[in-house]
């Protein structure tokens, strides 16, 4: 088999994942795109391992490690996304603008006291998205 086939497929999958990471708004869809990018890397590792006939099988061992790290990453990532959703009422990465600087910084600072007040962290969810929504609008 020509080595170009798996290499080109991996490059295109990586680019598709890159588009998804940059263009998606929901954080879970961003995580899906990250999985696509990791899988493109895995395909490259397997293809080059088979091509080089490595005696240590470094490519396949690293592929297994990448799969395990991706599983760990998706677990932590989903926990973080759920925590953000629970605190803010949204999982849209476009709305998480508390560290934003610019002409709207004062307006954001005026009404986004959510992260610095741990007592409100769990209770009143409806306040979060409304304030964020009007801050965005």
């Amino acid at each position: 088999m020509h080595l170009v086939y798996p290499a080109v497929l991996a490059a295109l999958l990586f680019s598709v994942g890159l588009y998804g990471v940059l263009a998606r708004r929901n954080a879970i869809l961003v995580l899906m795109s990250v999985e696509l990018m990791l899988n493109a890397v895995n395909l490259n590792l397997v293809a080059f391992d088979v091509w080089l006939r490595d005696t240590l099988h470094a490519g396949q061992a690293l592929t297994l490690f990448t799969i395990a790290i991706a599983a760990a990453e998706i677990g932590i990532g989903l926990a973080i996304v759920l925590l953000v959703y629970r605190n803010r009422g949204t999982a849209d990465v476009d709305r998480l603008r508390d560290l934003n600087e610019g002409e709207d910084a004062e307006r954001y600072a005026a009404d986004t006291d959510i992260p610095v007040d741990p007592a409100r962290a769990d209770g009143d969810r409806p306040n979060g998205p409304d304030k964020k929504a009007e801050a965005v609008a």
């Binding site: 170009v4 290499a7 999958l13 990586f14 680019s15 869809l29 899906m32 899988n39 099988h57």
Partner: protein
């Protein structure tokens, strides 16, 4: 018919049931399906459909691993990605109350910039890869590269230490996920003000 001759020749080589040209054609077809599924995954407006198309893309990649004679990786891919990662993603979609139907704001406003970046990256990568490996062929005949026996021997002979370190990493990640997603830490501090609440908060901060 050439098929039977090829099959017998390849069976003598302890290799699969497809001729080399058949492997190549099947790789191309499955690659096209995988790429299409990936594109639909990142462009569809329905969030749950994105997860299901991701299953198609990851399953197609598992078939590609099989065609590259990396059998163990293929089944690990099916087990971990299709079996658990996608289920985790679906749980995440469910717990964040993702809309079931079409959600028009699935893509952010900078999608055209993202498209430009992705197309530029794809063009650069594909050009470099094609130019670099234009005369390189993978020899898929001979012994299977990634059978369970071979993978297990290399993994537990040369890669034992990273393997064990990775198991510790997985344990730490899962404990971290549990700690992050527990609800009763904040609730406990709220219900019991005073010293116990502060202790609980400090404990939570330490675990993070």
């Amino acid at each position: 018919m050439t098929g039977t001759a090829d099959v017998t020749a390849l069976a003598a080589n302890a290799h699969g049931f497809l001729s080399p040209a058949g492997v190549e054609i099947l790789f191309l077809l499955v690659g096209i399906v995988t790429l299409g599924a990936a594109v639909v995954t990142v462009t569809t407006k329905q969030l749950v459909h994105a997860a299901l198309w991701l299953v198609a893309a990851l399953g197609g990649l598992a078939v590609e691993y099989l065609l590259l004679t990396a059998e163990f990786i293929a089944w690990v891919q099916v087990l971990i990605y299709v079996g658990s990662v996608v289920v985790l993603l679906l749980f995440g979609l469910m717990l964040t109350k993702a809309p079931i139907g079409r959600s028009p704001d699935a893509d952010s406003g900078n999608r055209w910039a993202a498209l430009a970046v992705a197309v530029a990256a794809a063009a650069a990568l594909v050009w470099v890869v094609v130019d670099a490996f234009r005369a390189t062929w993978i020899d898929l005949d001979g012994a299977v590269q990634g059978s369970t026996k071979v993978s297990g021997e290399s993994l537990f002979r040369y890669w034992v230490l990273p393997f064990e370190a990775l198991s510790v990493l997985l344990l730490a990640a899962l404990v971290g996920a549990i700690v992050l997603s527990r609800r009763d830490i904040d609730g406990g501090t709220k219900k019991q003000p005073g010293t116990t609440g502060k202790a609980g908060k400090a404990d939570k901060g330490g675990k993070h």
